[in-house]
């Protein structure tokens, strides 16, 4: 375990012990602080270090993604402590970061395994908060976990900087005062994909959706439907598939006779690799329907998944939060720094996690306090640039980052083993913005209490 200076004090802010029962039971147990006006969870002011909690999947289907996230976090910590080449700290605008830790305190970190399960992720986050004294939690690679950990952090009074989470809910109806998301969401994917699909496939298309049967899948199906139907596309059917079905053939066979000419795969991770591989195997891409070439669309892409799908990804459209082949100054600085450290380019998950860590540290420097309420105040409405997605804003109303979205296509002729996605279009931020009170999206942030 990392050396800790401050004693973890548990969930103390709002806990008031009133009866003797608790006090008696507490004898010998670690000191239980009673809330005072200025205390907040795991205040690091008295020590010489500050601890961040990196909560990523280390086992299960997303273990590789989690490993990449962890690499990015370790890189970010290095940079914050003034080691290495500084990466995006040199390109971030505006920046209050000094390269001497956070508010002069050395940054340390603890890690944990979410197992991509809400329960495990919350247990891990709780350990970081209760035992290791983490002042911020970040990470994760699914929306279920993000929402679960975010609400936990709200209760604990600790800031949560979400990792990879794409569901609208994270900053929609499940938004939280203490939670911030840099990653984009299904609404933005839909808005960005719409025009590209229109220009590539026209207005007269019939779509067939295969949707992972859980919250994120529904969210994505809804967004893509909304934007494609606005183009004049028809939706032939939207079929729900069980999570982790493995073999999707029984859901693909009906597509053949359905009369649809576009298949939208609202799957992520292993499900996406499998369903895409199998759909291609069924010869869908060689088919002609309604006099048009049959097309497959995978709204959310990641390079790691593209790797798993191999050849099948070629030519397929999707959206992504960030890709290492971007040539702006910030992306280049990050790719260079990450590549030098690990020998390969970072994934979009790594990018998001790195940026989130820097943004959090920067907000503390700007606020001049570790107090989450002060940090939240800085982050809300924070405008920045030089982090790889152009001019970006953390919208105050829902804590969602608004920035350019990438529409990508599987690369037909990759020049290297990492060159899997080709950027087709960088959809400007203005086109993917939406109202924070949009129907089905509105939520309640809650309060910052400290």
């Amino acid at each position: 375990m990392s050396k800790k200076v401050s004693q973890p004090n548990g969930w103390t802010r709002r806990s008031v012990l009133k009866t003797g029962l608790g006090t008696a039971a507490m004898a010998g147990a670690p000191m239980f602080f009673v809330r005072n006006a200025h205390a907040f969870t795991n205040d690091p002011s008295s020590g010489s270090t500050v601890t961040l909690g990196f909560n990523v999947p280390q086992t299960g289907a997303y273990a590789d993604e989690g490993a990449d996230e962890l690499r990015a976090y370790q890189l970010a910590v290095k940079h914050l402590n003034g080691e290495g080449d500084g990466g995006m700290m040199n390109t971030m605008q505006p920046s209050s970061l000094k390269g001497n830790g956070i508010l002069g305190k050395k940054v340390e970190y603890v890690t944990g395994d979410t197992q991509t399960k809400s329960d495990a992720a919350r247990a891990s986050a709780k350990r970081m908060i209760e035992k290791d004294g983490a002042i911020m939690i970040t990470g994760g690679s699914s929306s279920g976990v993000a929402v679960a950990v975010q609400s936990l952090c709200q209760e604990a009074g600790v800031i949560f900087m979400a990792g990879l989470t794409h569901s609208n809910d994270t900053t929609g109806k499940d938004r939280r005062k203490y939670g911030f998301r840099h990653f984009f969401n299904t609404e933005m994917s839909g808005a960005a994909l719409g025009p590209v699909l229109e220009s590539s496939f026209g207005n007269d298309r019939t779509a067939y959706h295969l949707t992972a049967d859980y919250t994120w899948g529904w969210s994505q199906e809804g967004s893509i439907k909304k934007y494609t139907e606005a183009l004049g596309w028809k939706t032939n059917a939207a079929v729900r598939t069980p999570l982790g079905a493995g073999d999707f053939s029984q859901y693909i066979t009906p597509v053949l006779n359905s009369g649809a000419d576009v298949l939208v795969l609202n799957h992520y991770g292993k499900d996406m690799v499998n369903s895409l591989t199998q759909a291609v195997q069924f010869g869908l891409r060689d088919k002609q329907v309604n006099g048009k070439d049959f097309q497959i669309v995978v709204p959310l892409f990641s390079r790691l998944m593209a790797q798993g799908a191999g050849e099948n990804i070629k030519g397929i459209y999707g959206s992504t939060n960030w890709n290492w082949s971007l040539t702006d100054e910030g992306s280049q600085a990050f790719v260079k720094s990450f590549g030098a450290e690990y020998g390969f380019p970072p994934s979009q998950a790594a990018h998001t996690c790195y940026v989130q860590t820097l943004l959090y540290a920067n907000a503390i420097e700007a606020a001049g306090t570790f107090n989450p309420c002060g940090v939240i105040e800085v982050l809300e409405g924070f405008k920045f640039d030089g982090m790889g997605n152009g001019a970006t804003e953390y919208r105050a109303e829902d804590h969602q980052c608004f920035k350019d979205v990438l529409v990508v296509q599987g690369n037909e002729s990759p020049s290297s083993q990492f060159d899997l996605l080709k950027i087709v279009e960088v959809t400007p931020r203005a086109k993917v913005e939406y109202s924070p009170t949009m129907e089905g999206y509105a939520g309640d942030l809650g309060e910052c209490v400290a």
Partner: protein, 377 residues
């Protein structure tokens, strides 16, 4: 001494058990496990395993679907929070009862078969619960995101009594918030009660009959027993333990997710029980602690933490140690867990407790007749 009608030896066991549990925040410290969440998990999963053992350990019926009752307990508890009150007492009672109700239904059907056929029936029911909860039952379970208590939920009883909470809703035991150490002590008290009940069942004629069913069910029938209701009761009791454990998961952390019901979760309690010792009193508890400890502590060691740990060594040795240990911790914690299962079952047949008893016996052998069956420790 007649302490709750226990024999002196059992009374001592009970006192030691209670003391060990209640003092866990102190003696767990050197192991890095003395923080509320993990202690709560120890208590909760210990209770789950103790209950599971009443079915598996006593009757030999191996259920592969007990996680369903854990999940049902959790959902019921969160719904009780939402509809009635944030007080954990009604929540735990309802959670336990509803889980018991499901156990009656599932048990009634599954117990028509024995052996692996029984196991697969329970597995099938649990997987159906899980799959449906994750998808089409989302209006009730809130699917992937998990069921949570919201501030604008009715909470009729609380409203009627004028109990108001600030901030996000949290279980509240007459004013004591159910988080941190108070929540642990709440779980600990329930665990101790649960252990006491289990001890009484083990020592009762009912428990003896269950063990006889495990030993030779056919003979029991010719001895005049209708075994089906005995099995059903054992199933329901252990289902209620699971429901209660699920309830406490939701009390200490008001979020109920479907993955709690997945087969891996059912498998986990089976492993806990076998690891500690099937049919022993404290074995399941030990197994639960061990597995949860590995899951939460071993997974948290990263390379820099390892370097810190071995920093007292000369630097070349430090590097060697870190290289050797690293594959077994952090992202490799599963490797340690898998190896641990194998090592224990190979070298300590019967699990930790029985294995330890055997080792102990071998040391002081000399043919002293032990007057207790090995399964009573």
């Amino acid at each position: 001494m007649n302490f709750f009608k226990l024999s002196p030896r059992d009374a001592l066991l009970m006192v030691v058990f209670a003391a060990v549990v209640l003092l866990a925040p102190i003696w767990m410290k050197p192991f890095g496990a003395a923080y509320p969440d993990l202690l709560q998990k120890f208590a909760i999963f210990g209770l789950f395993a103790i209950g599971f053992n009443i079915l598996f350990g006593l009757t030999g019926y191996l259920s592969f679907g007990h996680a369903a009752f854990l999940g049902i307990g959790s959902y019921t508890t969160v719904w009780t929070f939402k509809l009635l009150s944030m007080n954990p007492i009604p929540a735990v009672i309802f959670g336990t009862l509803v889980a018991g109700l499901f156990a009656v239904l599932i048990g009634f059907v599954s117990l028509r078969r024995t052996g692996i056929y029984f196991s697969i029936l329970t597995l099938a029911f649990a997987q159906m619960c899980y799959n449906l909860a994750y998808s089409v039952l989302t209006p009730i379970t809130n699917g992937e995101t998990g069921l949570r208590v919201l501030r604008d939920d009715p909470m009729l009883l609380d409203k009627a009594l004028g109990v108001v909470q600030e901030g996000s809703p949290i279980g509240s035991f007459f004013g004591i918030n159910m988080r941190g150490y108070p929540a642990f002590y709440f779980c600990a008290v329930i665990l101790i009660i649960g252990f006491f009940i289990s001890l009484r069942i083990f020592r009762s004629p009912f428990g003896l009959k269950l063990r006889a069913i495990k030993s030779n069910q056919n003979r029991m029938r010719y001895t005049g027993f209708n075994t089906r209701p005995y099995l059903l009761w054992a199933f329901v009791i252990s289902g209620m333990y699971a429901g209660m454990a699920g309830s406490m998961l939701a009390v200490t952390d008001p979020l109920a997710g479907a993955e709690r019901m997945q087969w891996t979760a059912s498998g986990e309690v089976v492993l806990m029980t076998i690891l500690g010792g099937v049919g022993t009193l404290i074995g399941p508890m030990l197994g639960a602690v061990l597995i949860k400890y590995f899951e939460n502590i071993f997974s948290a060691f990263n390379e820099s933490a390892l370097h810190d740990m071995f920093s007292f060594l000369p630097s070349w040795l430090e590097t060697v140690m870190v290289t050797v240990v690293h594959p077994f911790v952090g992202e490799g914690w599963h490797l340690t867990l898998g190896s641990l299962f194998m090592v224990i079952v190979i070298f300590l047949p019967g699990g930790l407790v029985e294995g330890a008893t055997r080792l102990f016996k071998r040391r002081k052998s000399d043919g002293v007749t032990n007057k207790n069956s090995g399964s009573e420790n």
